[in-house]
Amino acid sequence: MRIWHSYGSEHSMDLVLIGTFETVSGAEAAMERMEALKTLAEAEWSDDDWLRADERMPRTLADELGKLRLYDMGRPDVDIYALDHSVQRTGSTVRIWTEESEVQGFVKVLVNLGARVEVFSRHHWNEDGTPRSDTDS
């Protein structure tokens, strides 16, 4: 996955999600799910038509989510995986960076696989957990 290290635009949420798992295998399972969701989301977004009857929750999407055993996810939860974001695993920790404000799809996967999740914007906090003193927003 692509790792972003520049978050230039102020027109973004600049969010970081940190999922801490009990074991490395839990974090690995989350990474696998998120890879699969990215592929799925990109395929779904390519079908783009108002007159498609099942556009809100396509059958293929439901089937794939079933296989991944992610039963609590809806279309918008999957869609965010098609937007710019990056994911990185270090041991039993998974970090996600996104500019969107929609994070439920990420949180659901992390929580489903047993993580404790921390969410913050880099506009206000540094990644080491210290507040950013140089911001007034």
């Binding site: 027109h11 949420m13 783009d48 007159l51 969107e100 404000s101």
Partner: protein, 328 residues
């Protein structure tokens, strides 16, 4: 059968006369070509492009029908004002209906012989053929369409009065228990409303259109607060798209409320979904959200409103306005 009896039906007599003529033409000749009509169509009420050879002649001919609710005086003569109205319609029809070959003037009463000759002479002078449909012609055109005749002139005339009496009769046995607020309208009533092109049957579409127009207005008002050029351009594009879609939906409602069923079907069939695709719209909403702009709220839910408005497209496509298409 007296065409002047149409004045006894509810609604304006000239509109009833047009509805009758439209119903006859669509039933008798609808299979020979495509009927077209538009609001304030100059010269004729509607016209038909002949596509299949038959009683209207060879393919390529174009027939137009003009209805004039002229009540004649004692001598059955057209007044000079009535003559100039007819001349005006012929001229406008020739000008605005491309390729017009046959102009049918529909009158509720047959005018004096000299007027009839004058009418027949109007066409050749302008390179077309003119025909007169008066009482006897309507009688002949209605042969084989008894249900249509009864709908306008006989026992099938359903006026609000007869319906009210029928309703009174049907609830009489349960009158003591009859509490009107407990009884709601059902699909049959709605289907009848639609077939009769009652204004109420277009309320849902009008409400829907108003919802989209509201959102479009909210986006428009928010433009001044968007300082980022790219987002402003995207918003302007979406506003233009919404306005186009709203305009098309309004035209369908107007055609329905104006009792122009053919136009309703044509416009519904031609209705294009918004040019902004679902994915593009979703990306737009997310963009507004991540910039934490208040207008994000106005854009949220637009997709659902679009989807709920689109069935009108399918209504047109599958001709579900059955009665409407037939011009009842």
């Amino acid at each position: 059968m007296e065409l002047t009896d149409l004045a006894r039906l509810p609604g304006a007599a000239d509109k009833n006369f047009e509805a009758l003529t439209r119903a006859i033409v669509s039933r008798r000749y609808g299979k020979l070509g495509t009927l077209r009509e538009r609001r304030n169509q100059p010269g004729v009420e509607f016209y038909l492009h002949v596509e299949h050879p038959g009683v209207l002649g060879a393919p390529g001919r174009v027939w137009g029908w003009s209805c004039k609710w002229f009540i004649l005086g004692k001598d059955n003569e057209l007044t000079s004002a009535q003559r100039s109205q007819i001349e005006d319609s012929v001229a406008k029809a020739i000008k605005y209906v491309a390729g017009l070959t046959d102009f049918v003037l529909c009158l509720p009463q047959r005018p004096a012989k000299k007027d009839e000759e004058w009418i027949h002479g109007l066409g050749p002078a302008n390179g077309i053929s003119t025909k007169l449909w008066a009482a006897e012609n309507f009688d002949a055109e209605l042969s084989g369409y008894d249900e249509l005749r009864s709908t306008f002139f006989g026992e099938l005339v359903l006026s609000p009065d007869t319906l009210a009496r029928a309703h009174e009769r049907s609830v009489a046995p349960v009158k003591a228990r009859w509490v009107p607020p407990l009884h709601t309208s059902n699909h049959v009533e709605r289907r009848i409303d639609r077939a009769l092109l009652r204004s109420a049957s277009f309320d849902w579409l009008a409400e829907h259109t108003a919802l989209i127009a509201d959102r479009s207005g909210a986006l428009q008002n928010a433009l001044v607060d968007i300082d980022d050029e790219t987002t402003r351009t995207a918003t302007e594009e979406i506003i233009a798209d919404l306005e186009r879609f709203v305009g098309e939906l309004q035209a369908i409602t107007d055609a329905g409320r104006g009792l122009r069923p053919i136009e309703v079907c044509e416009r519904a069939a031609d209705l294009q979904p918004p040019a902004t695709s679902p994915r593009k719209l979703r990306a737009f909403v997310l963009k507004l959200r991540k910039q934490r702009l208040p207008v994000a709220l106005a854009a949220t839910g637009l997709a659902s409103i679009f989807r709920d408005g689109l069935p009108v497209h399918l209504v047109g496509r599958f001709g579900l306005l059955g009665g409407v298409r037939a011009g009842q």
